[in-house]
């Protein structure tokens, strides 16, 4: 067991972990931040996507010990300071970019990272960026629309009434 400490969503945290403990396990089991999900065991699905030192990372591909001293942001730290939804979160709701919600935290973290480096991505750039995030519910249609809308681009209304 080794002692680690890091900043998670702006708060200093520490804990004792085994060498094999994954970052996602530390977040979910030790810190009880259960918004970060585990959908596979081969680093394919992206449900566990978080930001480590500002970079998009699958928290199942990183040992907790590797994040010692790092600044980590999870879905629980994504909303605005007043508790309102962030622009990306709000766009996902407005454009029905989620159904069961399980892949959603990873999708939101991936989308936020994309817009951080590419403020006006094309549809193709969005689809390529989401290569490592699987959604089984939406067919990606409304996720792509939500991300385009979050970047301030015009997208068609959500549905004809």
């Amino acid at each position: 067991m080794s002692k680690i400490s890091m900043t998670v969503n702006g708060k200093s945290v520490s804990g004792e972990v085994e060498g094999r403990t994954l970052l996602v396990e530390f977040l979910r089991e030790d810190l009880k931040l259960t918004g970060t999900h585990v959908g596979c065991d081969t680093s394919q699905c992206g449900a566990c996507t978080v930001h480590v030192d500002g970079k998009q990372v699958k928290s199942c591909t990183m040992f907790a010990a590797e994040a010692d001293g790092a600044e980590v942001k999870t879905i629980e730290g994504e909303a605005n300071a007043d508790g309102s939804l962030s622009v990306v979160q709000q766009a996902f709701q407005d454009y029905h970019g989620l159904q069961c919600g399980f892949c959603t935290p990873g999708m939101v973290m991936a989308a936020t990272a994309l817009l951080g480096k590419n403020p006006k991505p094309t549809e193709l750039e969005i689809r390529e960026h989401l290569e490592g995030n699987i959604c089984r519910c939406t067919g990606y249609h409304n996720i792509v629309k939500a991300i385009m809308a979050a970047s301030g681009q015009d997208v068609p209304a959500v549905a004809a009434e």
Binding site: R28, E29, T36, E78, Q93, C100, G101, R127, H141, A159
Partner: protein, 789 residues
């Protein structure tokens, strides 16, 4: 309409806020005090005899609480099957025992043999590694046709063969169909495979059980689409726990697509083990484990023949299918290739004679059961493929051949030759709408444009019919269902007028908390925010059958409407008393009760308060309180239909297929929340394109699963999908449920696979290639091989 959304409004989903902020509560997020962790030891051999299970080393390892084998479940029943099919000779299907943990034999890779329960997950996993299992390998049974030959190795030694049943439908028409095909002007024949799929909801299955010795009660938290069904099956048939001592909770569930309908061994295991070890027991599936323990879908091998006369009118359809059951019968497995498949074989057409034969076969593979669409995609795929092939053989436009044979709008209600009566539909309208959306008239110009870039463009059409909300219960009972297929709702009005609806339906992505509230709000005329939808807990909701088969709004929504009608009727009595008027004169609009022809009114909240503070109340006539329950048992299925059109481009050098566009023009009857309905279609179409182009579940010759992870099983990614163009403006409301709704959950997955394959065949034939079929998935290698055969 309520200002925050009634029927027909694209109300934003209230459940989204918790999902978007990481505050969802999925089963794996539940951790109980003092809980232990279960790790399943599963067979890595497809078929074999267990000689010995040596747990001695593992038992002494750190943290091990107890190691379980089948000996610990001798008093328990097997996992039950919920549907008994009768074969075409009048005999019941063969039904093998499905033990919780393997007894004597292992029958598929993934069959659970032993379980370690330990203090931590890591300790359980480490100890599992130290269990030594000695298995004598037997020949695996894999090929369905070989499996039912005389002398074949048997999956279950106590059965007479590997044939579960040989089903014929409609058996009385068998000879007439043979005769019609013999005498037909033209017969089109197609042999095809409906590929085995894994549902793969993004949340793997989880089960956490807690036995309380103090009051002899069990609580099971599980990833289920239907917690009451799990309570009934597990309580009554497996563990002998009466319902009042067993609570099943399905909290936020991360997708199901059918795979979370069934009662699984792991649920019974943790429930029983929790009592034995005296502590909560938690099991969380890994994705690798999901691939070998979640029920799979599809896996049919079919030959279909379509006969037509000299006027191109269909005269008969005959289809022979081998349906893979896997090693055991999953909960609803026998019903999928039979009643959910055979009854759809008339499609949208006036074909007078249909005969469906299905041989269900046991093999040493993971059990197969319903996956989004369940039987209906298998029916639609073969029918819409053979119709397309027939059109090409006779040189007719595929849309025109369909139109010629469609049931006409004035022929409804329409009695099909496969036992079902379609209440409403207008297939000409949806086809015309789809063709308008795809700009059919200018397709040739797009073909030329692709050709100029060295690509082959094709357009594929499919027109599907679906049967949703399977019912009524007395009919399904005759067909072999061991359950009713009604739905329930309790509408509890609170004293100040807000409402809690307890529904037997379950949402695992469908947005019931939003759309169901829209219906009740509309009926009463209050804000939807005043209505709360409660689901997924047997201690809170009335006995209900859950969510699958696109039944939630058609059956569960109808139950909610019936209960709300009872509420309104009682509230009108109270309002009549308060306004000293005749009950027959009371009207309810926008949350106000008025007396017709007067200016008297009383608000909804005043009436509800009077019901709970009955000082001025007709106590001699009605009871206080305002809470009503309804159980709704539909009189018929509902029949959504639609035109699905796919446009593809094939690279002739590599065989790679790109989906350029996808159009869905559906008739779902009335629509409650268009945004949610369109989202359901998007997801279904993506799964259908996934089946057609990417996904395949493959076992090798030893019964090892080759596609056992997301690295090997090609889940559709964002870059595989186009933007979809969906429409639901063609509406022929259902005539036999109060909302006029038909259901939309599965349509996308039903209509899309034949549209994709038809488009690929169209592209190849337009390019001069003599290819009339490619099995799914139409991968580059398969397409290239077909082009270069």
């Amino acid at each position: 309409m309520p200002k925050d959304g009634g029927i027909g409004a694209s109300t934003k989903r209230r459940e989204d806020v918790r999902f978007l902020t990481g505050k969802g509560r999925y089963t794996d997020d539940i951790n109980l005090q003092n809980q232990t962790y279960a790790w399943f030891v599963r067979s890595d051999i497809a078929h074999g005899t267990i000689q010995n299970i040596d747990t001695s080393d593992a038992e002494s390892m750190d943290g091990v609480v107890k190691i379980f084998t089948s000996k610990d479940f001798e008093a328990a029943g097997g996992i039950p099957c919920g549907w008994q099919v009768t074969d075409r000779f009048g005999q019941p299907m063969q039904e093998p025992k499905h033990p919780i943990l393997a007894e004597g034999k292992v029958r598929h890779v993934g069959d659970p043999i032993a379980v370690v329960v330990a203090e931590t997950l890591e300790q359980a996993r480490d100890a599992a590694e130290a269990i030594d299992i000695d298995i004598d390998e037997l020949e695996p049974v894999l090929d369905m046709k070989a499996a039912i030959q005389d002398g074949a190795t048997k999956v279950h030694d106590d059965l007479t063969s590997n044939l579960c049943y040989d089903w014929g439908f409609v058996e009385e028409n068998r000879e007439a169909v043979d005769e019609a095909i013999k005498n037909a002007h033209h017969v089109t024949t197609l042999e095809l495979v409906n590929n085995r799929l894994c549902a793969n909801p993004m949340e793997p299955r989880v089960a956490v059980a807690d036995y309380s010795q103090a009051n002899d009660e069990y609580t099971l938290y599980t990833t289920s689409q239907n917690p009451h069904v799990i309570r009934l099956l597990m309580g009554a048939f497996v563990l002998s726990i009466p319902e009042h001592k067993l609570r099943v909770v399905a909290p936020d569930v991360g997708g199901g697509f059918g795979s979370k309908i069934y009662h699984y061994a792991e649920e019974a295991f943790v429930t029983h083990a929790s009592k034995i070890v005296g502590r909560p027991v938690k099991w969380t599936s890994t994705r690798s484990e999901a691939f070998i323990s979640d029920a799979h879908g599809r896996d049919h091998v079919t030959k279909i023949e379509l006969a037509m006369d000299e006027n191109h009118k269909f005269t008969a359809v005959r289809t022979d299918t081998y349906a893979n059951m896997g090693a055991y019968l999953s909960t609803f497995a026998p019903s999928i290739p039979t009643w959910l498949h055979g009854t759809l074989m008339a499609g949208n057409y006036t074909t007078p004679l249909v005969y469906v034969n299905v041989k269900a076969v046991f093999t040493n593979t993971v059990p197969v059961d319903a996956y989004r669409g369940a039987g209906r995609p298998e029916a639609t795929f073969q029918l819409e493929r053979v119709v397309d092939k027939a059109a090409r053989e006779i040189g007719m436009d595929p849309a025109e051949l369909r139109r010629l044979n469609f049931i006409k709008p004035d022929q409804f209600p329409y009695d099909t030759p496969v036992a079902v009566t379609y209440d409403t539909g207008n297939y000409h309208a949806t086809l015309d709408k789809g063709l308008e959306m795809v700009d059919y008239a200018n397709f040739d110009a797009r073909v030329a444009e692709s050709k100029a870039r060295g690509k082959l463009r094709g357009l594929g059409l499919a027109h599907f019919i679906e049967a949703c909300g399977i019912a009524p219960s007395n009919l399904v009972g005759q067909l072999g269902a061991r359950a009713g297929l009604y739905e329930s709702a309790t509408v509890r009005v609170n004293a100040t007028g807000s409402i809690s609806v307890m529904t037997g339906s379950h949402s695992h992505g469908q947005g019931h908390e939003t759309s169901f509230a829209q219906v009740v709000a509309e009926m009463i005329g209050i804000d939807a925010s005043q209505v709360d939808i409660v689901h997924g807990d047997t201690s809170k909701t009335p006995m209900g059958m859950g969510t699958y088969g696109s039944r939630s709004i058609a059956v569960g929504g109808s139950a909610m409407v019936r209960a709300t009608e009872k509420i309104i009727n009682k509230a009108k009595k109270i309002a009549a008393h308060l306004m000293e008027a005749s009950e027959g004169d009371i009207e309810l609009k926008d949350g106000q009760f008025t007396v017709a022809g007067t200016d008297k009114s009383v608000a909804w909240g005043d009436v509800t308060l009077a019901a709970y503070v009955p000082h001025n109340y007709p106590l001699e006539e009605i009871e206080p309180g305002l809470e009503e329950t309804a159980f709704y048992d539909p009189s018929n299925f509902t029949y959504p239909s639609g035109a699905y059109i796919c446009e593809v481009e094939v690279d002739p050098d590599t065989g790679k297929v790109d989906v350029l566009g996808f159009i869905a023009a559906d008739d779902f009857g009335n629509v409650i929340n268009p945004m949610i309905v369109e989202g359901q279609v998007h997801g279904g179409v993506a799964q259908g394109i996934g089946q057609a182009m990417l996904e395949n579940t493959v076992f090798d010759e030893n019964g090892q699963l080759l596609s056992g992870s997301f690295m090997d099983y090609a889940m559709p990614r964002a870059s595989d999908m186009p933007m979809f163009d969906v429409d639901h403006s063609c509406q022929t409301p259902c005539t036999h449920n109060p909302l006029g709704v038909k259901g939309c959950g599965e349509a996308g997955a039903i209509g899309s696979p034949p549209a994709v394959v038809n488009a690929v065949i169209d592209a190849l034939q337009r390019g001069g290639y003599d290819v009339d079929h490619i099995d799914m998935p139409v991968s580059p290698s398969r397409v290239w091989e077909a082009m270069n055969k």
